[in-house]
Symmetry: C2
Subunit: 210 residues, 2 copies
Amino acid sequence: MTHDDGVNTGSDQTEPKRRGRRAGGEDTKAALLAAAREVFVERGYEGATVRSIAARAGVDAAMVNHWFGGKEALFAKAVLQVPVDINALVDRLLDGPDESIGERMVRNFIGVWDPIGGGPFAAMVRSVTSHDQVADVLRGFFVQTLLKRIVTHLDVPDAELRATLLASQIFGMGMIRYVVRFEPLASADVETLVKAIAPNLQRYLTGDLG
Amino acid sequence: MTHDDGVNTGSDQTEPKRRGRRAGGEDTKAALLAAAREVFVERGYEGATVRSIAARAGVDAAMVNHWFGGKEALFAKAVLQVPVDINALVDRLLDGPDESIGERMVRNFIGVWDPIGGGPFAAMVRSVTSHDQVADVLRGFFVQTLLKRIVTHLDVPDAELRATLLASQIFGMGMIRYVVRFEPLASADVETLVKAIAPNLQRYLTGDLG
DNA sequence: ACCCTATTTCAACGCACGTTGAAAACCTGC
DNA sequence: GCAGGTTTTCAACGTGCGTTGAAATAGGGT
């Protein structure tokens, strides 16, 4: 509530918007996708209305149906394109000595999410917990592209268990830092977190679990 | 969509439901609370409609307003009554040698959430991520009753940081096990998790973070 | 220039939501 | 057994949603 979408692009003329095809440079399909990513991130699936997305894109709500066929389809197209380039991220993680993978994980995770403010992280969690269809998609996605690559790179027993333990610590750090915001972890600098958390990740990766 | 609430309690008589006060034994206020907890857990705040909650309770939707004053108030009453008795839980955690607090944390956490299926845990997360008002309440609650007591019991530097690190690992384990359900962690038995996670918790509690 | 088609806005539909006021059924105290 | 209050259902309201069909406007081909 109490939040209005700023749509005015300056002109305060009272004439209705012109219809018909836009001037050359515009691409409403791309504008809708960008707006959808923003609004889905801010409000979650149910909270993000087609009308607000269209308003953000500066376009009529009917365009969502015309270009994507409906809200559901737009959501699929928009969200499944959101995830950061996970493969490149895993490359960076695995590139280097195995003894410092934990440290690189902490640095990369914070390096990715801190600059964009953690909002998208909270949105991802919101999607996972509130929209079963997308939860399944994201689950499969993470398991296949992230965990599987790490697992096959490690030459240790119980690789799958180690990978999920790893995920639990990273995910938990994200929850505390970006979603529930417990201090002082939420405001701690990278070096502090690396020194505190990396050794525990390292133990999950290559240490003795049992 | 495509999901109907089964409300029929057997009789297929076409006569409308009788009005007026119920027969003696019933307590619709309690029935609404129970139904609300279930439906809020299953669908989240926005997804849980007043009508579906009332239907689950076998009662008219207007009862929500009559007994609680509205959906918002019902949500507050229902959700804020969910949390397990945290104080008793902290007692159990701190009762014993400091060297095995980590192990007791894992055992107690799993002992609490596993029997109730993890659904309420997912609901808590859903509440935190989708409803700011409740997020604040829960945040204050956890910080004051859980973290503060552990912090004052520990005689170590950086107690607050240690407490939040602890929370990150426990919370993350809950997310992986109950919400996103990554295997094999989601199905691992308690002993496996104790051996894997407890040492890391113990390091956060009493180890060297520097 | 002219038609044709793609693009866009507009107005309206149907639906589901939370909420409300009044009527009906029940219980309690006298 | 009747009066008064409590509990419950019912019907309706207003709102906002996603979606739809038609009208309006622009560009592209010939």
